[in-house]
């Protein structure tokens, strides 16, 4: 029984509250000019004239470890398009070498006729941890840790192989249009180099700089 009384009082209170608040709203003078009038000036602003920096490009250099074989230097070029502050799309093209020194020493013959390896991939990236670093007491630089994933092809011994790419990197902005970064990536592909189909996981570590334009 007391429960019902509390409920009824609650409903009455709610209705009265509504009545008073609507009465208060009616008391507010309508149709009058607001006392404070913000000065809004007419401005001629042409957005198209503002320089847009959505593209980022630059070279990179590092090491590429061919799974099961030797490690070689790698160099390449990257182009990225930044869609939002979080998401970007990136394409890379890299050149490395098939290091078959060990294979040749052990077997006395070469495995591949063409030692050049080239790869390209296109994919998306996500700025996971944007933040700042403090190299000196007075200097603060923006930085970000990002994740990458993509698809592409790797050309080994003149043969193109479908390749998955995944990686992570760390980027530091020296100025807002120039950055340096280090990146670790794995290239996953299927090859028949040893006579049977097998999955290769090639690890690549690179250092790079890039400019925004």
């Amino acid at each position: 029984m007391p429960k019902r009384i509390v409920l009824t009082m609650g409903v009455i209170g709610f209705l009265l509250g509504g009545l008073f608040s609507s009465a208060r709203a009616e008391n507010f003078p309508q149709g009058e000019e607001p006392i404070i009038k913000p000065p809004v000036e007419e401005q001629k602003l042409k957005e198209a004239k503002i320089d847009t920096e959505s593209l980022e490009m630059g070279p990179y250099y590092g090491v590429y470890a061919l799974d099961g074989f030797g490690t070689s230097g790698v160099y390449g070029f990257r182009l990225a398009y930044h869609l939002t502050e979080d998401v970007f799309f990136e394409g890379t093209y890299g050149i490395t070498r098939f290091n078959q020194e060990t294979f040749r020493r052990l077997t006395g013959r070469s495995l591949v006729a063409d030692e050049n390896i080239t790869y390209w991939n296109a994919g998306a990236g996500y700025n996971l941890f944007p933040g700042q670093i403090f190299p000196t007491r007075k200097r603060t630089l923006n930085s970000t840790i990002y994740l990458l994933g993509g698809l592409g092809q790797t050309q080994i011994d003149r043969q193109a192989h479908f390749t998955f790419d995944a990686g992570t990197g760390y980027k530091v902005f020296i100025v807002d249009w120039f950055e340096v970064r280090v990146e670790l990536r794995t290239h996953i592909l299927q090859t028949d180099l040893t006579g049977a189909n097998e999955i290769m996981k090639n690890i690549e570590g690179t250092a790079a700089f890039a400019v925004f334009f």
Binding site: E41, Q43, E47, I50, A122, N142, Q153, F162, W177
Partner: protein
């Protein structure tokens, strides 16, 4: 030692040479080149970087003059009259940007702007005759209905790899706000490189003709999701043709 030092120096100067145009571009434009505005919002939070996680280091007041230096994604780099420079979010500065009289939401305006753009760049993945395929395509919109297209497919399989270079005409008769449907016809060349395990076959080039349908869904800003189906007829020899089907999904950008 000297040789190393000399080499390092020459490399450094090469680097500076490469960066030169960018440094020059950064400093060449005077104050007049920038767009000026006075803050309409009650206050404007200025971040140290173009992202929400970079801290706010200064708050500008209504009426303060700002120079819009540049834009990156949703962020504007601005300079205040006291010389401070930082980044403001597009949503925070929207009223100031729209103070020129346009009464339209930011996202609407951006969407319409991109619909007016003519160049579309697409990238996708899928299958071609059952094997994994990657595609790159560029489309130029002649009219709202008619477009020209050029592109390439890269297919890898156990038997070898196929590179396909194609061109065609795209007709988009159905274009709604959230979906557009198109049909395409075209032709091109197919270059097949057999695997080293396949003995006795060398690299060959064939001609192809194709027809297909595709859909495109706007995701955010100038980004679209797309799906494609294409049927390729490859002319293996004057007497023999082979059919391949391509199913693909991907992303495209309007510029």
């Amino acid at each position: 030692m000297n040789a190393i030092r000399r080499e390092t120096r020459s490399r450094l100067s090469l680097l500076l040479l490469c960066l030169g145009p960018f440094i020059a571009a950064e400093t060449a434009f005077g104050e007049e080149a920038y767009q000026k505005a006075s803050v309409v919002e009650p206050f404007l939070e200025i971040h140290t970087g173009p992202g929400r996680s970079y801290p706010v280091f200064y708050v500008a007041e209504r009426g303060e003059e700002i120079l819009l230096l540049k834009r990156r994604t949703d962020w504007y780099r601005i300079r205040l009259s006291n010389g401070k420079e930082g980044w403001v979010n597009r949503a925070d500065i929207e009223k100031t940007l729209l103070a020129q009289g346009r009464n339209k939401g930011v996202m609407d305006r951006i969407y319409d702007d991109y619909l007016a753009d003519r160049l579309e760049l697409a990238w996708g993945a899928g299958t071609f005759g059952g094997d994994p395929s990657l595609s790159v395509r560029m489309t130029y919109l002649l009219t709202d209905v008619l477009s020209l297209e050029g592109g390439a497919n890269f297919v890898s399989s156990d038997q070898g790899s196929i590179d396909l270079y194609q061109g065609g005409i795209v007709v988009t008769p159905w274009r709604w706000r959230w979906l557009s449907v198109s049909a395409t016809v075209g032709g091109g060349i197919v270059s097949a490189t057999p695997s080293s395990l396949v003995v006795g076959v060398t690299k060959k080039t064939f001609q192809e003709a194709h027809a297909g349908i595709g859909i495109s869904i706007p995701l955010v800003r100038n980004l679209f999701a797309r799906g494609d189906f294409r049927n390729y007829t490859v002319f293996m020899s004057p007497e023999r043709t082979r059919e391949f089907q391509e199913y693909g999904i991907g992303l495209s950008f309007r510029f």
